[in-house]
Symmetry: C2
Amino acid sequence: MSKQEGLTVKKSDFSEWYTQIIQKADLADIRYNVKGFVVYMPWATDTLELMYKLYEEEMRATGHKKMIFPSLVSKSNLEKEEEHIEGFSAEVFWVTEAGSQHKKFEQPLALRPTSETIMYPMYSLWVRSWRDLPLKIFQSCQMWRYEGKATRPFIRGREFHWIESHNVFATKKEAENQVKEDMEMAEKVMHRKFCVPFIFFKRPQFDKFAGSVYTYAADTILPNGKRLQLPSTHFLGQKFSKPFDITFEAKDGTKHYAYQTCYGPGISRIFAAVVSINGDDRGLILPPAISPYEVIIVPIFKEETMKKVLSHSRKILSRLKESGFRVHLDDRSEYTPGFKYNYWEMRGVPIRIEVGPKDIKDKAVVVVRRDIENKTQVPESGLVKELRQTLDAVHNSILKKADSYFEGAIHSASDQLELKKALDKGGFVKLNFCSADVEGAKCADKIKEKFNAEVCGERYMGEDKPSGQCIMCGEPAKSIIYVARSY
Amino acid sequence: MSKQEGLTVKKSDFSEWYTQIIQKADLADIRYNVKGFVVYMPWATDTLELMYKLYEEEMRATGHKKMIFPSLVSKSNLEKEEEHIEGFSAEVFWVTEAGSQHKKFEQPLALRPTSETIMYPMYSLWVRSWRDLPLKIFQSCQMWRYEGKATRPFIRGREFHWIESHNVFATKKEAENQVKEDMEMAEKVMHRKFCVPFIFFKRPQFDKFAGSVYTYAADTILPNGKRLQLPSTHFLGQKFSKPFDITFEAKDGTKHYAYQTCYGPGISRIFAAVVSINGDDRGLILPPAISPYEVIIVPIFKEETMKKVLSHSRKILSRLKESGFRVHLDDRSEYTPGFKYNYWEMRGVPIRIEVGPKDIKDKAVVVVRRDIENKTQVPESGLVKELRQTLDAVHNSILKKADSYFEGAIHSASDQLELKKALDKGGFVKLNFCSADVEGAKCADKIKEKFNAEVCGERYMGEDKPSGQCIMCGEPAKSIIYVARSY
């Protein structure tokens, strides 16, 4: 934990770059000896905590209440909704016994792969009347899925950390509005605060969440051109309220099945997107809102100036703390300033302040931005104001860069040759397609087979109208869809 | 979720009182269909979140870093330290298979019953040199233990929520100081902020944590006279650093096994103590520091005054929010003010503000304390200051009441007859005892057998010197110990 080595590859070699940054920015340790499980190091843990905080604030602002549900579910409850269990059964970890005698349970318990079947039996008890609706609940917890694919820290693992909200409404319309609210929440938090751009796609009927009526999922593009699925929100209709018996008495005394939605922002995976999209050849670049430190102070001294410089740095530290900044003074004497610059650059701290004997004489400090290599001397008297403005500027520039990167990853194709070329460049490819309904499955399979790519779906709020023919089967196009290769 | 019924028993009937308050203050739902697992309702979840926040702040203030470790551990790692696995093996949930085919693992995985065996293999990789020490790490997570005893929400369950810190030091002295720091942390947070009094006992050698050299555990007394164990802190010496190979190179180049400590504040159980000790016949009483709302505003209106009263109440709400209070306006129109008084009293909100037409005319509000039934009209102009003072007063009075209750639960006995009488009254009984070392086990067994009580241990910083004879065996007393019946 005590050396700071630079990255030995550029970000253009994404796979190796990601491996190195995970280790060198102290984000995760992959040497834990259970396959698919990793240890989250302090810097990642603190970043995740800020991400959770901002997402939860938005959950509460939109009327959700926080709860804590058990992590284990009985096999019989897990299997209550057919499509749902079909979709998840391959990924379930089973708890079958306990104690030193390994006493078998009457029926196995599952580690939650998602919590529909844990929460909805309770909802059935809680929801009685229209007065109990809407019921909007979230929890922040970990999930376990026995992943078959290769795992990578934060991107895909057998234990990951998310928020899940599960809501109940009297009417279809309210439930469908919730799906929109979920997408707005992602825009507010994930895009505008975490600087992760994405598109919400209506997943084709042949690739929706197990048990939903329809699903919107946010996809982003990683620097290797592959798409990564971020939060998805699901309109469940009455597909769960029927097997789980979630009914309410309306004002007129009649009894109805409720409408439901669920939503799952995977915070640990969004963190992977933050790392991947915003980092550069020198390391992480964290948006100020989620950087454990917004400002790092590096004192510059020799033996004879140490006392003076440190004492002055501590004064600046406490002034900035009082002004509400998350700020840290790196006063370790065993490392050089140069080492510390690299150390905090690797970890993506938005602003570095350098304090040396000359600066003290000038009544100023040197302010360095992480996102661009811009260095300016700032008078101490105006420091607080200057830092606030600089943090805003850093945020805006990270966001702008991410957006422009993302825009550049959206292509279109009017025939299969163009599709192939665009996919090889990486990113999304927009095209005319026969149908996003079940009957489009065949052409989707062909895309998979010929180009090793998947149909993401129709873009939410997409403005384009389909025209001409499906580039796969030649039938009249009923949809404009996006295609991409998956991580 | 929509009715507010009062408690139908007094707190003196503690067992039934606890059952009712869990349900009527909406703290937990015990109807979840896996034995020993319950659902935490929003009010309890929000209180727990504040408790976590305050405890974690103290962890960070004492130099601990937060991390997230996997929840599963391989059988072989779990069994690496002999005494440790002996102590825990009866309580382990085993994950043995995955997927729809229920494919067996080569070796079973345990759901963490505690994380020594998860964290220490990593520590062995991280600790190399004296420069890496001290290593102070905590995580906030849930634990699973296959409890044989009857479970009760928050007091004892098969899944509970805690903080655990695991620290590594170069010297025995530093490690022993950590044990003291852990106890001070409990005093600062659990006693002074959560208003839960306790005594730290050095557990007798025959009842220490599985794998520790010695253990200090905080015991409190519930209103039924039974003791409940709260956080314990353990000096592990080199008992884990040897099997897990946690060594460091000292400044002089020599290699040494490190010294370790661990500490586990069980937040969900501490919450049970907050509920039990501070509540009264009308419901919960929450210390202001951990009440989701410090202040609840109840508007009093008829149809013709509704608009005016609500709009005025909203102004007060936003003023108080701006001043930093956690405050909520109960503007539900389907309930009467009387219903709302009971509702928020049941949930223990420290201060209620009533706003009616007359108050508006008086430019004042009525302020009511939850802990004592004190009602005063306060001019709006001085409201913020008055509320701050009142919250302090509520806190101090809750703490004082808790302390005096706790003092009253400490008795002493100079023979077995007195011991019996004191135990029947409930609480701790202080007595002369042959030995808190292994050779005292026999007398402890006799106490268990004759009086159905356990030895808590020697009091930390206890001032008394043993004198005379052990009241069980008549041998010269080497210890003053405390005895109590356990929950």
